[in-house]
Amino acid sequence: MNMEAIENHQDFIKGRSVDGFPEIEPILEIQHLGKKFGDNRVLLDIDFKTYPRDVICIIGASGSGKSTLLRCINMLETPSSGLVLHRGKNIPATGAHTADYRSKVGMVFQQFNLFSNLTVLDNCMLGLRKILKLQKNEARARSIKYLMKVGMGPYINAKPHQLSGGQQQRVAIARALSMEPEVLLFDEPTSALDPEMVGEVLDVMRALAKEGLTMIIVTHEMAFARDVSTRTVFMDQGVIVEDERPEVLFTRPREERTKEFLTRFMAH
């Protein structure tokens, strides 16, 4: 990789017009975001942009602030300072505007968080009916479409507790996809899974990346991050240390801290 290409990519990340690419509007832009829990500063001055079709993997040690960052992006945590901009508009911490914004930014949780009293189909349909106000038939057809996409079509009548972890997580992905979000956030989607179920969930995510879905993924799956992401972000102690293309970050990291983390991680 030559230096020019890297610089071009840096420009691309910053949203400047490069090589005939027109300037693209970022879907999400995070400016000087900080988060404190009491006196504990978890995030410090985070700047970060997400463009359409980005697949961003956020990696880093436990406690580096990556999950908190993800949760601040859709306001599940209220940032202590800084701004979250969605298509250039500032998102407040609560209220109707926030709820409307959240309906456009999907989230997949580590613990799946399927609605335990509802069937698989109703889990997907609830948001479509109540938030997007779709007709029943339309909501049903759309839910089934996305459940099939994740290979869970046959299970529409099952309750979450009747499914394996991997199946539950795939339903959770279908539930988020049914809303047809502009960005989909994943908070360590495979960390709570038994090892033999990690593959099926990663396969689904890989397919989504290939289709061009914009995703931000907090993960410990390094191979996945390297193969699938368009940008990999390394976080340490509440700051973004490096924001690079994966082929650069994983082979020739610029920063000492990134090198250290990767060496430690690969050694395990």
């Binding site: 209220t78 409307d100 309906s103 989230m107 968080n113 335990s116 009293n117 099939m148 290979g151 009548n157």
Partner: protein, 270 residues
């Protein structure tokens, strides 16, 4: 029945049933009505109070909202403590005679009964509902928020249905208790089953047999209702197993493309 005096308890029972069967039935029906309706009203009170008590306001909310909520919460806490902390029999006296002494209202004893049992149940249910709401995991709330649900919609669509399912056994418990405890309303001459039974004893000055009959009627009502509630619980929990669905052609696409996708998906997984 012959005109001769009964020789044993069994004959007494038959005599009481013959002469006062419809009085027992009326008393039992009133007991059942007060217990069921008051439990329902109590549940509604409990849900409203429990919901208010679980509202969390942050620093970002306006001051007047926080102050109002604080005052309302104090009043609700007083309500819960007073009605849980005093006997229902005493509450019945205070409401029935108090409404006359303080407001000049001549309450019908039956209406007073409905009020006392409802408000009393509400105080117990408030705590139960609060517990039921808190027992719903925070992940469920976050998932709803992440889909774009606001606070009230999250409550109505996600949390309350789950809380209701969690506290259904407790609601059943309250209903059973209310069937039995309406008997305290006899102190304000509310003609429920206990009061009726007591009245019946006066004619022949026999106590054992009428109360044995009342005992059986109470047991019949509580046992039947507790079984019915079990059935309801089961029904709300839904079937234990599920059916796999492999044919969506009827209700989704109509062109079979979905089914082909599905078959591919299944083959890949094999």
């Amino acid at each position: 029945m012959g005109p001769s005096t009964p020789q044993n308890s069994w004959e007494w029972i038959l005599l009481f049933l013959d002469q006062y069967g419809s009085a027992f039935a009326k008393g039992a029906i009133l007991t059942l009505q007060i217990a069921v309706i008051s439990t329902l009203i109590g549940c509604i009170i409990g849900f409203v109070v429990g919901m208010i008590q679980t509202i969390e306001l942050g620093k970002s909310d306006p001051l007047w909202k926080r102050i109002t909520l604080k005052i309302v919460n104090i009043l609700l806490a007083v309500y819960v403590e007073v009605f849980r902390g005093t006997p229902m029999m005493v509450q019945a006296m205070v409401v029935y005679y108090g409404s006359d002494a303080l407001f000049g209202l001549n309450l019908n004893p039956i209406l007073a009964g409905y009020i006392v049992v409802s408000v009393n149940t509400g105080a117990y249910m408030a705590e139960t509902v609060r517990g039921g709401i808190m027992s719903v995991s925070s992940g469920q709330i976050e998932a709803a928020k992440a889909l774009g649900f606001r606070h009230t919609a999250t409550m109505v669509n996600i949390i309350l249905p789950q809380a209701l399912l969690n506290i259904l056994p407790q609601i059943g418990n309250n209903l059973i208790i209310n069937i039995k405890d309406t008997s305290v309303l006899n102190v304000i001459a509310c003609s429920e089953l206990f009061f009726t039974t007591k009245s019946v004893t006066g004619t022949y000055w026999r106590f054992f047999e009428p109360f044995l009959i009342a005992c059986v009627i109470y047991l019949f009502m509580t046992f039947t209702l507790s079984r019915l509630l079990r059935l309801l619980e089961k029904k709300l929990q839904g079937p234990r197993s599920y059916q796999l669905v492999t044919d969506f052609m009827d209700d989704t696409y109509g062109n079979g493309s979905a089914v082909i996708d599905l078959k591919k998906g299944l083959e890949r997984r094999r």
